[in-house]
Symmetry: C2
């Protein structure tokens, strides 16, 4: 109970910051400046911990997001082979680019936009060369950072690959692949509906509070300590199997993280391999990655594919660049053409309208990827994580952040105009 009360305070605090108070800005919340986890051992008031959930509370998140595996169990996603070194053509003119956040009138510079969104790291590729790269806070170039729901786009990409290889039928029901889902809300959803987040599952993706679906999911997976009398689902898949239907499948797009974990369950059964092993075999061992990545696991060893992946920043950029290049890397096919086409095609735009996502008018969501009207597509994680691919501008951006507010509805307001301004600048428009 003490833990729950502490959590309630922490999570309510996050919500309060978004609504009432002004949180510390990026400079004042700098984790090095605040001394989080410094000293051997760190002093009590400088500790960032799993067991009291302080790791989830801004501004300590500015440390925890760059140290995820030190807080929870994880499994390795290993690199191999020679590193693919990006050529560099760094440009000093980028910091001064100006943009106007959505709904605002006062312009800010690119450099200001990084602080506004609590950027921990950002790398920009133009035509395959690094034109810009910065690290802030607790993140180093060789460090890992939690990517949250960017993880989902790796899972969606694996799904499209398995479909292209004829191993997965997107029109089959979830229960036909995973019998344990038969009694759940997912049972009669098709794989495609789950991939595109168009299920009618009863799950409210609201962050904060200790009685919501997100908190129950966290308890199930061990993201937060369980109370002594815990009797809820034991593990990520058990949580998925416990969810019911609130409405029909195939309706409007609604963002619900358990869709991804349910999809991962199918993919693990179909491939006979964990998602971590699949990401390693398909991507991490093939793209000249620099660093092993890490996937958070639950108490029974299941990877949190809805949001538990921690890669290094430049490795995330390599994945994005491979997608920009049509699924090929140094002459090898990483993603079959049919899978690549399916990812690029995007989703049903009318189904996406009601979500009213800032900066995504005319966009869509499909195969666990976000699509903008201009052909850009992206992987997005709470608190400002992202892979952004703008094929027309030949630009790829990988970004980590630790914004105090979870939803990218707030963060996109600055990020997307910044990316648009940069794309125009790099394209000489």
């Amino acid at each position: 109970m003490r833990i729950l009360v502490a959590l309630a305070v922490l999570l309510a605090g996050t919500a309060a910051m978004a609504q009432d108070k002004t949180p510390l800005n990026a400079a004042d919340s700098d984790p090095v400046r605040l001394g989080w986890m410094q000293g051997f051992p760190p002093a009590a008031d400088k500790q960032v911990r799993w067991d009291n959930s302080s790791m989830w509370a801004f501004p300590k998140t500015r440390w925890s997001f760059s140290h995820w595996r030190e807080l929870m169990p994880s499994t390795a996603v290993r690199r191999s082979g020679p590193i693919s070194v990006f050529p560099r053509a760094e440009r000093r003119d980028i910091d001064a680019i100006t943009l106007v956040p959505l709904g605002a009138t006062t312009p800010m510079t690119w450099e200001q936009s990084l602080a506004a969104n609590y950027t921990d790291g950002i790398v920009v590729l133009h035509k395959g060369r690094i034109v810009y790269e910065r690290y802030f806070g607790a993140l180093k170039p060789d460090g890992l950072h939690i990517a949250f729901s960017v993880t989902k786009s790796f899972v969606g990409t694996l799904a499209e690959i398995l479909i292209a290889e004829g191993k997965l039928d997107p029109q089959r029901t979830m229960a036909s692949y995973v019998p344990e889902l038969a009694g759940s809300g997912f049972g009669d959803a098709t794989v495609r509906q789950v991939m595109d987040m168009r299920t009618g599952i009863a799950f409210d993706e609201a962050y904060g509070g200790i009685d919501g679906d997100v908190f129950r999911m966290s308890l199930a997976m061990g993201g937060v300590p369980r109370p002594k009398d815990y009797a809820g689902p034991d593990g990520i898949f058990a949580n998925v199997a416990s969810l019911k239907k609130a409405g029909a499948h195939g309706g409007d797009w609604v963002y619900r993280t358990p869709n991804t974990d349910a999809l991962a369950w199918v993919l693990e059964q179909v491939a006979g391999q964990s998602i971590a092993a699949q990401i390693e075999a398909r991507f991490w061992s093939k793209l000249g990655m620099e660093q092993d990545a890490s996937l958070q696991v639950d108490p029974v060893g299941t990877g949190f594919t809805g949001g538990g992946f921690s890669p290094a920043l430049r490795d995330m950029a390599r994945f994005g660049e491979m997608l920009r290049l049509g699924g090929r890397w140094q002459g090898a096919e990483i993603i079959p053409a049919a899978a690549m086409a399916a990812i690029r095609k995007g989703g049903d735009a009318p189904a996406f309208v009601a979500a009213k996502y800032p900066g995504l008018a005319g966009g869509s969501y499909a195969s666990q990827w976000w699509h903008r009207a201009g052909g850009q597509f992206m992987a997005v994680g709470i608190h400002g994580q992202g892979i952004y691919i703008d094929p027309k501008a030949e630009m790829v951006i990988a970004r980590f952040g630790s914004h105090p507010v979870a939803t990218n509805r707030v963060i996109n307001v600055t990020t997307l105009p910044a990316y648009d301004a940069l794309a125009a600048h790099l394209s000489g428009r």
Copy 2:
């Protein structure tokens, strides 16, 4: 309480096996055969978990020892640079070598000795070439395995390096480096006494049971779940600081794990760097390692230097080979000559006599390394982990195991005669 009862059963079970019952042999306890953690998700009776302590109970240890980071938080010890590939000169005649375990009369073959000691992996270098390499159970050549107290020898080596560099004075007291130790039993011990395990700390290194010092240490570091009303030391260093003196320092050698954690505390303060970072900077980035290694951390991020390191087998062999070569690797000095000499010198033999360690008559312990009378020295971890360096035979062995019995007093009985027979064989004796 339920957790504690479950633990008592598990730990008592381990003790019972050693005393009364015959545990499953290596083949029958094979973790793949038993199906531990297979399936997505694994069935309830196939799970190996931290939160119910099943990870600590043989035969599930045959899986958990090869999957440590999936069970507890950890920090990375990263490799870098080109891999140093060992030349191979594998010999088929090794399996048939015969030996007689200490106190026995019936000989067994080398191959039989591997099963007798529940070997998970073993690699033998002769003159720098791999002459023998085998993997069993859940371990793969590119996998990590908990090395338990082999970790200590990395810490002792770091200590000798810092002494050689003039940054650490072994004659100073522990409290003079770490004021928090002033009130503890370690306060007036010298660094050297701690390095050589000749302190009078009140700590009984007995495994099993839920009221012993080892269990209390595990609770402090989060190796086992804490009961709800836990009020003991919070973290590895807090546990060290809580220990009292049972007798004078500087007497006989007595093996007590907290000596290493106390030493690590001093080294972290002196170097201003965690032990994980020091192992990375001194060894893992310099010896052409193949795999990032992993160090288990406690709830406040402190590495468990008494026994939490998980390297890959061949990487452990690289470290051993570097020591055999006098602290040098491919032309570079990894360990200063003075530090190397201090490690090779060994400890006070009379202080070691009372311990009556099988196979170590005339041996000693110093700088967190074990020394045999024949000049061989070794790093040793419970359940059969080890790095064995025989300079005269120009032989280095790295070994991982999951023997049901913790103490190497049982395991050495077979291992040391096997190593001696192999040394004689390779030397043409």
